[in-house]
Amino acid sequence: MKQVLFLILITNSLTSFGQSLEQTFDFANQLYIQKSYQNAVEAYKRVVYFDSSSLYSNQIYPKIADCLFSLEKYQESADYYDLAYFSTEDSLLKDTYILKKISCFLILQEYDYAEIELLNLGSDLPDSLEYEKNFNEAILRFAKEEYDLSEQIFKKLTSDTLAINELFNQNTKVSRISPKKAKIMSMFMPGLGQIYVGDIKNGLNSFILSAGLFALGLRSAYINNPLDAAISVLPWFQRYYQGGFKKAELIAIAKIQEKRYKIYNQLLDEVEKGETLK
């Protein structure tokens, strides 16, 4: 008898830590504060399941979303911010969740979804949210290649507008690089387009390969006969000639991306500097 009682006591006391709905919720919050996000999500999900009258759901959904955001599960996080959005009536909170969702979509490189969410934002935001909105929008406009708009918004984020000006001037120069031009140049002379965008190694490589095959074909046509040359060398020449000018276009696109990436990160550096000054 005594042993059985003991056993039941022990099992009861084992489970009695964080027992009722409220206690579990508090426990989950504590896990959240301790940054034990995976465990916090599990506890929160349990509360949501047993919370039949939806007492806690408006507090829990944003918490789960925050946890998932910290766990770098951005798609799931965006879904939970969506649930959070619909669980509250407070317009300020709604806007906060939308901003968080925009962050998720930007990190996922889903620019169109981010833009749609931006349209859902309320018109007059408090200062802190306004700053965050501008930050997100500046990035979004840059990613969507609307540079003039992006420049205006970036200037709102930091006091050092000269630096921003300078960076956007560099960016206009990048816009002048034309992948099509590189392609056409490489059509006339293999490798020229690559050299034009600054990739000398690939330019020389393409030139030597195409010219070598061309010379080999000529030699074969001269020594043997033109038909032999056409069968054995022409397919290879065609392949690397065509490959050369198509690659020139791809290399140009990659170069533009590389340069934009660099400028973009310098812009973020400026924003960061502005933030630390504040």
Binding site: L106, I139, N202, N205, L209, A254, Q257, N265, E275
Partner: protein, 142 residues
């Protein structure tokens, strides 16, 4: 006096923490744009165990850097024919690996895509010499 000092210290620490939080926020956005890196790294040519593998890895790297880099993606498979070649030679030796590669070159025609699994990320057909197609166990035992 000491109390004040402690309070100020904690406030200062809190301020530092806050600032770090804001900085961490910006760093999340660093890779929102594609970085334009199209350089490839060829892990297939690494970890050579003998001279034959070393020679073939050298040939593979030579082909990849000077010829394949100027080419379009013409191969219908993932891994591509040259990668298949080096992987097969490494696993089965020069003779069997070579024969397998010759077979693969004739199969690289894109006429019978229904024979292979499709890789959605690269939009290519899957055909890896390292994986011996065992009879797949029916895993959907409900």
């Amino acid at each position: 006096m000491k109390m004040k000092y402690i309070v100020i210290k904690f406030l200062f620490l809190g301020l530092l923490l806050l600032k770090n939080d804001a900085l961490a926020q910006v760093s999340l956005y660093r890779n929102v744009l594609p970085n334009g890196n199209i350089k490839k790294e060829y892990v297939e040519a690494k970890n050579n165990k003998n001279e034959v593998q070393l020679v073939f890895s050298g040939l593979f790297l030579f082909y990849k850097t000077f010829f394949s880099s100027q080419d379009l993606t013409v191969c219908t498979f993932s891994p591509s024919c040259s990668e298949y070649g080096i992987l097969a030679v490494k696993k089965y030796g020069m003779i069997k690996g070579g024969v397998m590669t010759m077979d693969r070159l004739t199969r690289c025609n894109g006429l019978s895509p229904h024979n292979y699994e499709f890789d959605k990320t690269t939009m290519l057909l899957k055909d890896d010499p390292r994986i011996t197609p065992a009879v797949s166990v029916v895993s959907n035992i409900k």
